[in-house]
């Protein structure tokens, strides 16, 4: 791939999907055009700052027809919030597994956690 001197290679197709305000271009961290395995979207690999693929999160957001444009930074912090969510629900579920004297976390532990925590109420009925 020719390393053109013109502008660092931002994933332009990516900022076209989301509104790009001036400040958000900079938030496209680590966006080299590396192919990302398993990604359905443009080749935006996750940056070292996020464990989750930003392109996938953006794509998920866009499946909601009401959702308007989102800045790259917003997608980014949603990614981070999702990471925290996983941590939280996993830890909560673990408590139930331990109560049941099990070493394996099971689906029902997650169900219990969902029921017990108010903030997780939106999850009731997920994957029924």
């Amino acid at each position: 791939m020719a390393a053109a001197v013109e502008a660092p290679v931002p994933a332009e197709q990516d900022s076209a999907l989301c509104g790009s305000e001036g400040e958000t271009r900079g938030a496209e961290v680590e966006e080299k055009s590396q192919p990302q395995t398993g990604s359905t979207g443009p080749a935006v690999s996750h940056s070292r700052l996020s464990k989750l693929p930003l392109a996938r999160i953006k794509a998920l957001m866009k499946t909601d027809p009401d959702v308007s444009l989102a800045s790259q930074e917003s997608v980014f912090i949603i990614a981070k919030a999702t990471e925290l969510f996983v941590e939280m629900i996993a830890k909560d579920a673990l408590v139930y597994a331990q109560q049941g004297k099990r070493k394996t976390l099971q689906r029902k532990d997650l169900d219990n956690a969902i029921e017990a925590v108010d903030e997780f109420a939106f999850l009731e009925g997920t994957l029924d």
């Binding site: 308007s68 917003s74 980014f76």
Partner: protein
């Protein structure tokens, strides 16, 4: 994993990413497969929840694009205020990286060689390569 379905609504966070996060959070715990599957789907729901709320907040503001501020307010109103501190930290990192990047690219521009000149040099190099390649082809070893 090739996505042949093309159905947007089947999108989820990649299983591997979830597995990794679970492993990091609960290092010595075995997790049943259907539990993992549930986590994957919960993530999808979570993302929809936050985006939707952030979108509403955005609509009420005079902006057309969802901003980090909107997302943070959404987290707050949905009961995830405990996430805000960490989220803000990461946002700060993000901005710092962006700033460094902008500085770096402006440093590059200040090398003293104008972009047009660099492009011209690049074109020359390409032309040379093409010339050499063509040269190689005409000396085909198998006659």
């Amino acid at each position: 994993m090739a996505s042949s379905s093309g159905n947007d609504d089947d999108l989820t966070i990649p299983r591997a990413a979830i597995n990794k996060m679970i492993k990091e959070t609960l290092p010595n715990v075995r997790v049943a497969n259907d539990a993992r599957e549930l986590v994957v789907n919960c993530c999808t729901e979570f993302i929809h929840l936050i985006s939707s709320e952030a979108n509403e907040i955005c609509n009420k503001s005079d902006k057309k694009t969802i901003s980090p501020e909107h997302v943070i307010n959404a987290l707050e109103s949905l009961g995830f205020a405990s996430y805000i501190t960490e989220v803000k930290d990461v946002l700060q990192e993000c901005k710092t990286v962006a700033l460094k990047r902008r500085k770096a690219s402006s440093r590059l521009e200040n090398l003293g060689i104008p972009e047009e000149e660099l492009l011209r040099q690049q074109q020359e190099l390409f032309a040379k390569v093409r010339f050499l390649e063509e040269g190689k082809c005409s000396y085909h070893p198998f006659g």
